[in-house]
């Protein structure tokens, strides 16, 4: 008999707050975290507003006690992971069979960019300490060593669905009985590499992004990190943990259409959402809120909207894209939105969409525009889709009595 998977803690940092309670206040006050960048050194500073974490590397280092020369990836990841395990009983993660699964799409690219400026002038120059942060697994190891986690540790990179997949893997490892507790999530810092990459694809909005809106012009990049503490129901009982909710469904699919675009009909999203619903043994009417992938690009929002209507018809539940507040945090977005979704179930919240005026033509999809609290929320669906056709949907549910 496989066990249930509970969410026993969250750690989160993004442009809208350095923990859950700050993030909720930002939603409540309806303030977008997207603004002119303060820390990313880019020539596009005046052109593209970004969802930047409101700390410099030096400040993050001072708060965490880490060295400021580390990649922003490590600093953000450590900040969120440490927060996630704070509420756990002391020594729990070293007592149990604990795993750590992180995710990132660019790894320590912020440092590699800086290294390359020197390296390109002379291949024997450039500070090697910078480039040693390059690979996506570096931050994972660094954080685990600091937190004293050993044993099963890994890193996933499936573009913008990366950290939804680390949560899914964590749940599967607990269900299979291989691990008792998994800290799962992901991180991505703002980098010139990703900003210029998305800009070269002409899908970055020069203004505040407008996900799910007819007038949308693209995404705003963001940054951050989030981790969920996942445990089996047995562990939750044995250690008197107070779980937020249960992870009842998940599904990973591939759209198999194009390297950077979803199919018109949203086949991958359709399969991911329906697969997660099937696993949870839920009807569409059981879902009380959907946290959309909702990047603000023409392609994503239209494909996701079509897939949504294919599954839910016109009786879809309240939905929104929280990326309109945080920006698109790429490899971190799955976990950041999973944390929001888990808290939505715990506290009965429906999150707003920041900027919405007109529904996409041909699709009557209207997002929630004001934050709602004290709602009866039993099940929340969270979508994460990415380049390479990687689609993952997660469902968080009230713990069954």
């Amino acid at each position: 008999m496989s066990s249930s998977v509970y969410v026993a803690g969250t750690g989160i940092i993004s442009a809208i707050g350095n923990n859950i309670s700050e993030s909720l206040n930002t939603f409540r006050n309806h303030q977008s975290g997207i603004a002119k960048t303060q820390y990313l050194e880019t020539r596009h500073r005046e052109t593209f507003p970004l969802g930047e974490v409101k700390f410099s590397n030096e400040e993050l280092a001072a708060i965490t006690g880490l060295k400021s020369g580390l990649s922003r990836t490590i600093l953000l990841s450590y900040y969120a992971a440490k927060q996630a395990i704070e509420s756990l009983p002391e020594n729990l993660i070293t007592t149990l069979r604990t795993g750590f699964i992180s995710a990132s799409s660019v790894g320590g690219m912020d440092k590699t960019e800086s290294f390359f400026e020197d390296f390109m002038k002379d291949e024997q120059s450039g500070d090697l300490r910078k480039v040693q942060h390059h690979d996506c697994g570096k931050h994972t190891d660094y954080v685990c060593e600091k937190l004293g986690i050993k044993g099963f540790i890994t890193t996933i990179s499936t573009a913008c669905s990366s950290s939804a997949n680390s949560i899914m893997l964590g749940a599967r490892l607990i269900k299979s009985g291989k691990l008792d507790l998994v800290i799962a999530g992901g991180v991505d810092p703002l980098t010139r590499f990703t900003l210029n990459g998305f800009n070269s694809l002409m899908i970055v909005d020069r203004n505040q992004c407008r996900p799910l809106d007819q007038s949308r012009q693209g995404l705003n990049l963001g940054e951050g990190a989030a981790y969920l503490v996942l445990v089996s129901n047995k562990i939750a009982t044995a250690y008197n943990l107070e779980p937020l909710c249960e992870l009842t469904g998940y599904c990973n699919t591939n759209d198999s259409h194009h390297q950077t675009a979803l199919s018109d009909e949203g086949n991958g999203p359709y399969l991911a959402m329906s697969g997660a619903l099937k696993m949870s043994v839920l009807n569409t009417s059981d879902i009380n809120y959907i946290n959309m992938h909702g990047t603000g690009t023409q392609n994503n929002d239209s494909a996701e909207g079509k897939a949504l209507v294919r599954i839910f018809g016109q009786t879809y539940p309240p939905l929104s894209s929280t990326k309109s507040f945080t920006g698109h945090t790429l490899g971190a977005s799955g976990a950041i939105e999973a944390a929001f979704s888990a808290v939505a179930v715990q506290k009965g919240i429906i999150y707003p969409n920041f900027s919405f005026t007109e529904a996409m033509h041909g699709l009557s999809v209207y997002p929630q525009v004001k934050m709602l609290e004290n709602q009866e929320i039993n099940h929340v669906l969270s979508n994460s889709f990415g380049f390479g056709g990687n689609c993952t949907s997660l469902i968080f549910s009230k713990i069954r009595a």
């Binding site: 590699t112 960019e113 996506c136 685990c144 540790i153």
Partner: protein, 352 residues
């Protein structure tokens, strides 16, 4: 539960895309940068498509095709890739243009193909595969993580067959940087002096894909009994884990240990310690003098282990190391990196 390897495709510094290499024997490599011997890609992929693909994508696509064809699979249900560094060539291309043109006038082509999941994505496109798709990027444990996930998919009945691979490429920039860091030897190395302890190893690369299934077929190579990876454990702790793993499978001693010795003194000391501790010093096969060192080289080792278990007589390429008539039933593959990452893959004869 059993997971069978039913098809394998390998591109490596040996002519491994052609399985005749097993009888003809491996060649002794020379130098300190061992690139793959690549097939004529136009035999496998449409010419127009090839031109759009970087080397690592080509190596991934063709190894996938070889593995699935051999297994008789038209379309894999799930695709999982392990790659420590991903698409370095495209990453380097976009990054250097970004620096050169100071964030201006950039073409998206290299960026599009720079993400680590491009290989698994391109394979999914090739096969029109809408099933489970993931990419592991965890350094020396990237392939092991992918393999572990594949085994779990089959175990939990989420898939009947999974295509799983380990892949990494050398680029000029990565070679220069890793050499400066001290990963590679300064001197030229050949198969004869490969294991003379020094500092660093030889740059290798490769792509090895496996078609796994819960069903045994005429093409089955071996069974994967278990995959485990351990981070931040010391040698003694890993030996304990290995003994527990073997015990779970009622194995007193594996018939062969395939070990990741790479000519780096510190690395080989860890590997020697392990081999001795599990009594395998005299039943040891080292392989990195054939493929060089790279983060997903354990995928190459898994290919070798599978071939040794499949054939009634041990292929010629191993004649120096193994008695051709010996019947091997269990092979343990041990890989470690800097005493931080360790992994064990246990392969059993398909009939066991």
């Amino acid at each position: 539960m059993s997971v069978y390897i039913n098809g394998i495709g390998v591109i490596s510094p040996q002519q491994s895309f052609d399985k005749n290499v097993l009888q003809e024997g491996f060649i002794g490599k020379e130098g300190n940068k061992w690139l793959s011997v690549e097939p004529n890609y136009s035999q496998f992929i449409d010419g127009k498509q090839i031109r759009r693909m970087s080397r690592i994508i080509r190596m991934g696509i063709v190894a996938s095709l070889l593995a699935t064809r051999e297994a008789g699979i038209e379309k894999p249900e799930s695709i999982i890739v392990g790659t420590a560094f991903g698409c370095l060539e495209d990453t380097h291309s976009f990054l250097s243009k970004l620096v050169q043109y100071q964030e201006d006038m950039l073409s998206p082509t290299a960026f599009i193909h720079s993400t680590h999941n491009t290989i698994a994505a391109q394979i999914a496109l090739l096969f029109h595969c809408r099933g489970y798709n993931s990419t592991y990027v965890h350094r020396a444990l990237s392939f092991e993580s992918a393999l572990m996930d594949a085994m779990l998919l089959i175990e939990e009945n989420s898939a009947d067959d999974v295509l799983v691979g380990g892949i990494d490429e050398i680029t000029d920039a990565s070679f220069t940087i890793m050499k400066r860091i001290g990963f590679y030897k300064e001197s030229e190395v050949n198969a004869e002096n490969f294991y003379i302890p020094g500092k660093g190893s030889v740059a290798g690369e490769g792509s090895a894909f496996f078609s796994l299934s819960r069903i045994q077929t005429a093409s089955s190579y071996a069974k994967i009994a278990e995959v485990e990876s351990y981070s931040f454990m010391n040698g003694n702790e890993v030996v304990e884990k290995a003994k527990e793993l073997l015990l779970r499978h009622n194995i007193v001693q594996p018939d062969l240990l395939i070990s990741g010795h790479n000519g780096d003194g510190a690395n080989d000391k860890e590997n020697d310690f392990f081999a001795e501790a599990i009594n395998c010093k005299n039943r040891l096969l080292k392989y990195k003098h054939w493929c060089g060192e790279y983060a997903t080289a354990s995928a190459f080792a898994t290919w070798l282990g599978a071939e040794i278990l499949k054939h009634k007589t041990i292929p010629n390429c191993f004649s120096e190391f193994l008695n051709p008539d010996e019947r091997l039933n269990t092979i343990l593959i041990y890989n470690q990196h800097k005493g931080i990452h360790h992994s064990l893959i246990l392969l059993n004869h398909a009939e066991l």
